[in-house]
Amino acid sequence: MTVLDDSTAPGLVGPPNSHGPRRDPAPLLPDPEPVRILGTPAAKMFDTELQRELYRRLVLGRRFNQQATTLTRQGRLAVYPASTGQEACQITASMVLREQDWLFPSYRDTLAVVARGVRPVDALTLMRGHAHSGYDPYEHRIAPLSTPLATQASHAVGLAHAARLRAAADPETAEELVALALVGDGGTSEGDFHEALNFAGVLGAPVVFLVQNNGYAISVPLASQSAAPTLAHKAVGYGIVGRLVDGNDALAMHSVLSAAVEHARSGRGPVLVEAITYRLDAHTNADDATRYRSAAEVDAWRARDPLTLLERHLRAAGLLDDAGVAATARAAEDLATEIRAQFDNPPDPDPDSLFTHVYATPTSQLREQAAELAARRDADAYADAAEDEDEDEAR
C-alpha cells in the first residue's frame, strides 16, 4: 500500500512505479527524548568489562585533549580543535568499528583517529604543520581529517557502496564493512550533507552518519543553524533511520552506535545518529568562546561532563574505586608522556616533497619547478656556507 495507491481513480492501473518507493515514516523517526542509559535500569544490564573499558578510554581521551592543547601553548602544535566534553562520542565512534570498517573524520575528530590506533603525533600532523596528513589511510582505514565540512560524508557513502559492489562481485573475499562519517551540527547545513544522506538512502549503503551536536558551529548556536525538531529528524527525508542519543552518556553512545553500525552492516540501510553533547573548550585554542556563550551555560554542561557522569555511575555500581581511578590516571599520564616524547624532535619536512605527490608521476612542469627550487636551495646553502667561511676568516 503506497500513498499513491488510488484504486478509486478510474483508469489508474495501480500506482506507477515512477512514484515509488513509499514507506512508512514511523520507524525512521527518532524518539523525542535522546537515548540515555546512565541513571536508568538499563545501566545494570550493560557489560561491566565494557563499562570499565569505556571509562579507561574516556580518561585517556580527556588527557589526550589536554596534552594536545598544552602543545599549542608551547608552540609545538600550530592549532588544536579540542573535543573536550565530546570524548564519549569520539571514543565510541572508534570502538564500535571492526577492523574492516572505515572512519571518515572531520577536522575536530583527532581523538577518534587516535582511538582507532593512529599514533598521536601522526594524527596531529595536520595541526603540527609539516604535512597535510600523517597516517596511511589504508593502514588504519581512516580517511584524512576533512576540513571542508561535510564533504567527507559522500566519500563514506561511495566507499561503503564500493565495498558492497565488490562483495557482490566476489563473495569469497567479501568484507561486510561499514563506513562511519562524523559531522558536526553546523556541517549538517551544507548541501554535501544532504546529498550524502540522499545517496546513502537511495543506494542503501552501509553508512552510519554520526552528528556530534555540540550546540555550536564556532560561534553560531544551533538555533541559528536549524529549526528542525532534532537533527535526527532529517533522516526521514532520506528514508533512513534517525536516532537521538545523549552524547555525554558513554553507555548510551556505545549501544546506540553499535546498533546503528550493525544495522548498516546487516544490509538494513544507513542510519543517522544525532548525539547531543557539548564542546567544553573553545572552538580552537585561537578562539575566544566568551564572545558567544555564557559561563553559566558552560558550567551547566561541565556538570554533565561525560567523564563525571560515567565515573559517578561506576563508583555507585561498585565497578570503580579510588585505586582504579588512580591507576587510570597513571595510564593517562603515561600517554601524555608518550605524546610529549613523540613531539620532542621538531619535524624537518623536505621541500622537495612539495612536488612528489601532486601526481603519480610528476609532470615536466613540476620537474622544472622542483629543479628550480632545488637549485635555489643549493645556492642558498652555498651562500650560507660562504658566509660562515667569511665569518670564520674574519674571526
Partner: protein, 328 residues
C-alpha cells in the same frame, strides 16, 4: 567504418568496462537513457545498472561518491551532464579530487575520470555552452584532457580511465556528431595516445595556430583558407592542457616565429593566456610578433542566435594572422 565521436567515446567506455572490473560509470541519466548525448548508450544493458549507475540529481554527491569508490580501489567514470552543471561539484574537485594524493603523501590516489561535455556551437540555451577548462587547468593535481578528433576521443578516454590520477575529460559537444572512418576495435593498446602529448595536425611555415578541442576544425579550416592569402599555417592540437606539452608547442612556434592561440572560452585569464605567456617566456627571441589570441569575448555565453558572433571564426583567426606584423 564511419564512427562519430559519440560512438568512439561509447566504445572507449565499453572497452574499459570490459577490460577492468573496477571501472564503473555513474551520473545523471547514464543508464536507461544512455546519457543525454547517448555516450553511455547500451552500457547499463551490457554491464548492469550497478556498473552504469543512474544517480540522484546532485553533482557534488556524484563526485563525492566517486571519491569514496576510488578510495576503495574502483575506477569511477563520472558524467557531468553539461559544463555548467559541474559547478556544484567544484568543492569536491578542488578540495578533494585534485588534492587527495598530495594530502595523503602519495598514499591515496584517486583514479577518477570526470567526463564533461563542454563548449558551445550547438544552439544550447544558457548554462549549456560554457567552456570551463581554465577552472580545471588552474587547479594543481588534475589532468585536463580534451580530444578534438574521433580517434583521440577513443584513445584519450581509454588513457584517462587507465590513469592513476584524476582526469578531467572535456568533450567538445559540438564535435559529438562529427564522423570519420575509424574502427575502435582495430586500435591496439600500443596505439592509445598517452596523456600529455600535443599533436601537430598540420605542418606549416608562416605561423603556428595553437588550439584544442572544439576549435581544432575551425583552425584547420582557417589554415586551408590562408593558403589563398599566401600563408602556410601550422596547426597544433594540444589534446592535453595539463600536463602541457611544452616541447611540441615550442618547437612548432620556433619553426615559424609567429603564433596565434585559439579557443572559445572567454579570453581573460583563460588557458590561452597561459599558452601565450609560456610560449613567449620560452621562445621570445624566436618571435617576430607577439603571440595573439582569438577567443570568446569576456561575456557570459550568448543565446543561441548570437553565438556565431562570439565563437572564434575563420575570419577572426585570419585577421589575427594578418596582425602578426608581416614585413612586406
Amino acid at each position: 567504418m564511419s564512427t562519430t565521436m559519440v560512438a568512439a567515446l561509447n566504445a572507449a567506455l565499453r572497452d574499459s568496462l570490459r577490460a577492468d572490473a573496477n571501472v564503473h560509470v555513474l551520473g545523471e541519466d547514464v543508464g536507461a537513457l544512455g546519457g543525454v548525448f547517448r555516450v553511455t548508450d547500451g552500457l547499463a544493458a551490457e554491464f548492469g545498472r550497478q556498473r552504469c549507475l543512474d544517480t540522484p540529481l546532485a553533482e557534488a554527491g556524484i563526485l563525492g561518491t566517486a571519491v569514496g569508490m576510488a578510495m576503495y580501489g574502483l575506477r569511477p567514470v563520472v558524467e557531468m551532464q553539461f559544463d555548467a552543471f559541474a559547478y556544484p561539484a567544484f568543492e569536491q574537485v578542488f578540495s578533494h579530487v585534485a588534492k587527495m594524493r598530495n594530502r595523503t603523501g602519495g598514499q591515496m590516489g584517486l583514479p577518477i575520470t570526470i567526463r564533461v561535455p563542454y563548449g558551445g556551437g550547438v544552439g544550447g540555451v544558457e548554462h549549456h555552452s560554457d567552456s570551463s577548462e581554465a577552472y580545471y587547468a588552474h587547479t594543481p593535481g588534475l589532468h585536463v584532457v580534451t580530444p578534438a578528433t574521433v580517434a583521440d576521443s577513443y584513445g584519450l578516454l581509454r588513457s584517462a580511465i587507465a590513469s592513476d590520477d584524476p582526469v578531467v575529460f572535456l568533450e567538445p559537444k559540438r564535435l559529438y556528431w562529427s564522423a570519420v572512418d575509424f574502427s575502435p576495435a582495430e586500435v591496439s593498446t600500443a596505439q592509445v595516445p598517452p596523456i600529455g602529448r600535443a599533436m601537430v595536425r598540420r605542418p606549416g611555415t608562416s605561423a603556428t595556430l595553437l588550439t584544442y578541442g572544439p576549435s581544432l576544425p575551425v583552425c584547420l579550416e582557417a589554415a586551408a583558407a590562408a593558403r589563398s592569402e599566401g600563408w602556410d599555417l601550422a596547426v597544433v592540437d594540444l589534446r592535453s592542457l595539463v600536463p602541457f606539452d611544452d616541447e611540441t608547442v615550442c618547437t612548432a612556434v620556433r619553426a615559424t616565429g609567429r603564433a596565434v592561440v585559439v579557443h572559445e572560452a572567454a579570453g581573460f585569464a583563460g588557458v590561452g593566456a597561459e599558452i601565450a605567456a609560456r610560449v613567449t617566456e620560452r621562445c621570445f627571441h624566436h618571435l617576430a610578433a607577439p603571440v595573439l589570441r582569438v577567443t570568446g569575448y569576456d561575456i557570459p555565453y550568448p543565446p543561441p542566435m548570437l553565438e556565431k558572433h562570439h565563437l572564434p571564426s575563420v575570419d577572426r583567426i585570419l585577421d589575427a594572422v594578418a596582425r602578426l606584423q608581416w614585413e612586406q
